[in-house]
């Protein structure tokens, strides 16, 4: 800190300080607040301000050595502290701005995927999707065109913003496939695979399950691109089976072809589709097993589909202390 020029700032400060020391008054406090605002605008740092104070004290009082030294020490402290303080403040501001932008993006994304569950005469359908953080890499879509019910569930491997951006691409690709409603599951997946392989980052891939139900024949046909198997509940046998289907995840290999599976789904049967947190792996922790999910479903499957999905999600969240480690989507269809 160099010698303080006896400028107008110092003069004003000296004036206020002397008045304060001789007769303490409310007015001085008010004026000092105004001065503080002005000094801050002028770019006077906290250390400069303390230096100003020391200068005035030296001019007006005979300071003893200890006081003088302590004030000099304070100036040095303030210089370092002020720097740290502002840097932190600046980071906090930037963080706030980023948070705001992510909030906006999350809203946009929510509007994009906000899957409406269509009304269906032949099935009771419930769906729920919850991101682990603000943005989700999960996607689902349920379409009833009057003749057939088409259901898609997808999981971008990855989390947060990159996964969410990839998910938006999936959504647009799905929308742009003309035979979307009528197409066979295998050809839909083959088409989407080309889109993802061409456009996504090399470290990204997407798992997807696509199924179509025909209410006249009661046939549910489906293909899977590396997606976690869903569950099929047979009412007659009162048992849960894996909705087995295999295929290469989207975006892994350019020319992947997909097989199609078909099964008869009788009235009273149910189908459950899900994305799960298998990508979050820790050796020393317990994980939620598929058998446990079946147990959760059994406990609530007498309820309407919309309530089943809400309840299963709630139970799963409770097990994870209400903090999902991965995006989670769950669809229930009661035929």
């Amino acid at each position: 800190m160099g010698t303080m020029e006896d400028g107008p700032q110092l003069a004003t400060y000296r004036d206020l300080l002397i008045r304060y020391m001789t007769h303490e008054s409310e007015l001085v406090i008010e004026e000092s607040e105004m001065l503080a605002g002005f000094l801050q605008e002028q770019g006077v740092s906290p250390a400069d301000l303390v230096a100003m104070h020391l200068e005035v004290m030296k001019q007006t009082r005979a300071l003893d050595h200890a006081t003088l030294r302590s004030m000099e020490f304070l100036i040095n402290m303030m210089a370092g502290y002020g720097r740290e303080y502002w840097e932190h403040q600046e980071l906090k501001d930037k963080q706030k701005q980023l948070d705001k932008e992510i909030d906006v993006a999350a809203e946009v994304q929510k509007a994009l995927i906000e899957g409406k569950v269509p009304h269906c005469d032949f099935a009771d359908i419930g769906a729920i999707s919850e991101p682990a953080k603000k943005m989700s890499g999960d996607y689902y879509r349920i379409v009833n065109d009057g003749k057939r019910l088409a259901v898609t569930i997808a999981d971008v491997i990855g989390k947060g913003i990159p996964a969410a951006m990839c998910m938006s691409m999936i959504k647009y690709a799905m929308d742009s496939i003309p035979e979307n409603k009528q197409g066979a599951p295998s050809s839909i997946l083959a088409n989407l695979n080309r889109v993802v392989a061409r456009n996504a980052d090399s470290s990204m891939f997407v798992t997807m399950f696509y199924g179509v139900y025909d209410p006249v024949t009661h046939i549910f046909s489906n293909s899977s691109a590396g997606h976690e198997p869903g569950f099929y509940y047979s009412a007659q046998q009162d048992c849960f089976l894996d909705l087995e289907a295999r295929g290469m995840s989207l975006g892994l290999a350019p020319g992947s072809r997909y097989k199609e599976w078909a099964r008869k789904v009788e009235p009273g049967d149910m189908i459950f589709l899900l994305t799960d947190g298998v990508t979050e792996i820790r050796k020393d922790r317990d994980f939620i097993e598929r058998e446990h999910i079946i147990k959760l479903i059994r406990r609530s499957m007498h309820l309407p589909a919309a309530r089943i999905v809400r309840r299963v999600l709630y139970e799963l969240k409770k097990m994870q202390h209400f903090e999902l480690t991965d995006d989670f989507t769950f669809i229930a269809m009661k035929f």
Partner: protein, 112 residues
Amino acid sequence: MNLSIERENQRINTNRVVVSGEIDVYTAPEFKKNLLPLTELNGGTLIVDLTKTNYMDSTAIGVIVAALKSSVKHHCKFSVVGLTPRIERLFEITGLTELIARTQVSGGETND
């Protein structure tokens, strides 16, 4: 994360990458930086050893996928050892296991 790259002497261009500790969003870039060049050795062999890895998240899986794709492209035999049963199941379901197997056939000549 601690990363060691061992060149197995008996064969040229055979590398084993041993990763210990955690691979997450913070350490994944370094993992990727070290791994990718090894996949570009035409006709080479790359073994990623995860026996000592006690945590990996989806970012780590992303790096392995990028390395796998690059291996397919450069005809490099790619394999991953030391997977936990859970990650092995994930590899199985998603098709990664099948894709890895394809690189074993004459150094990954297939591209689809």
